[in-house]
């Protein structure tokens, strides 16, 4: 785990060094490297494009504020996803509060809609629905692993659990998905 961390940090050390010196291109590179993954994870967790954009923006603005202290961060991807998780939690509670105020019992239509492109099918919709039926802690691990492309070591840092727990949650989730989708197919 330690070795993985060091390697991971070495990957980003040049960018983070330049970023700490106030190089805007380094910040742009960090954005290009992580934005897509962060955005997809945020979108899966929040189910809303606007909220996902807000979450990603907040994460990068938080990164700006960290600035020179970024050298203390052991694992940059884990740190970013940790920030994202916090922001998502806050946005979720804000959204829930707003929904209560507005007496909206259901999520908006955008929340359920999939960005079905050329590869989007009804089957994708079923997989997504099955994913939503997972227990939240398992769904979170699957999202971080697949959309966030994080290792179990990084997921363990983000969620504050052991890497083995993250791996077993992932495995249980896939098992559940297999059962769920198999049952649907039958």
């Amino acid at each position: 785990m330690r070795a993985a961390r060091v390697t991971n940090n070495d990957d980003h050390s040049d960018i983070t060094d330049r970023f700490r010196r106030g190089d805007l291109t380094a910040f742009a590179e960090l954005y290009d490297r992580f934005a897509l993954r962060l955005y997809r994870v945020a979108w899966r967790m929040l189910g809303n494009y606007g909220a996902a954009e807000d979450a990603v923006q907040e994460v990068f603005l938080a990164l700006l504020k960290v600035g020179a202290r970024l050298e203390k961060v052991e694992d940059v991807p884990a740190y970013l996803f940790c920030c994202l998780r916090r922001v998502v939690g806050r946005l979720r509670s804000q959204h829930e509060r707003y929904q209560r105020l507005e007496h909206l019992a259901q999520r908006g239509p955008e929340n359920i809609a999939l960005p079905l492109g050329s590869n989007g099918t009804i089957w994708s919709e079923r997989v997504l629905q099955a994913l939503r039926r997972l227990p939240p802690e398992q769904e979170e691990v699957v999202i971080l692993k697949i959309e966030g492309e994080l290792t179990f070591a990084e997921i363990s840092m983000v969620l504050g659990i052991s890497a083995n727990t993250a791996a077993s949650r992932y495995r249980y989730a896939l098992d559940k998905l297999r059962e769920d989708l198999g049952a649907e197919r039958e």
Binding site: G22, Y39, F60, V127, L128, L131, D175
Partner: protein, 119 residues
């Protein structure tokens, strides 16, 4: 970590193949613009901080010089002697009694001159 069995890797592949959104280009532009503004602000704050420190240093130095010069003057320069008016009065009377035709003004002027010369 044990490798996943085939049936699970299939499920994993299915989840991986789910279409996902791509962050809009405006988001990148917006975040980079905010970053540029933030870095500019930081630079400005740093400059202001530097100038403030320099000004505070100069002010402190000036105060130190003024204080040390004040102390030096107090120690090295003797205070001026004070004029003894009682002595001037006595000398005026004595001068007037010694010289008959001398007026009071003249006597006082003479006494003052003598007292000042003796300081």
């Amino acid at each position: 970590m044990q490798p996943l069995p085939t049936e699970l890797t299939f499920v994993e592949r299915m989840v991986k193949s789910l279409p996902g959104p791509i962050p809009p280009a405006e988001l990148r532009a917006r975040i980079l613009e905010k970053a540029r503004m933030h870095l500019e602000n930081q630079r400005r704050i740093q400059q202001v901080r530097l100038v403030t420190f320099a000004a505070a240093g100069i002010l402190f130095l000036c105060m130190l010089i003024a204080f040390s010069q004040g102390i030096r003057l107090k120690v090295t320069v003797l205070p001026p002697k004070r004029l003894d008016y009682a002595r001037v009065q006595t000398m005026t009377r004595e001068t007037q009694s010694l010289v008959d035709e001398m007026s009071l003004d003249q006597a006082r002027r003479e006494a003052l001159r003598l007292v000042l010369a003796s300081l």
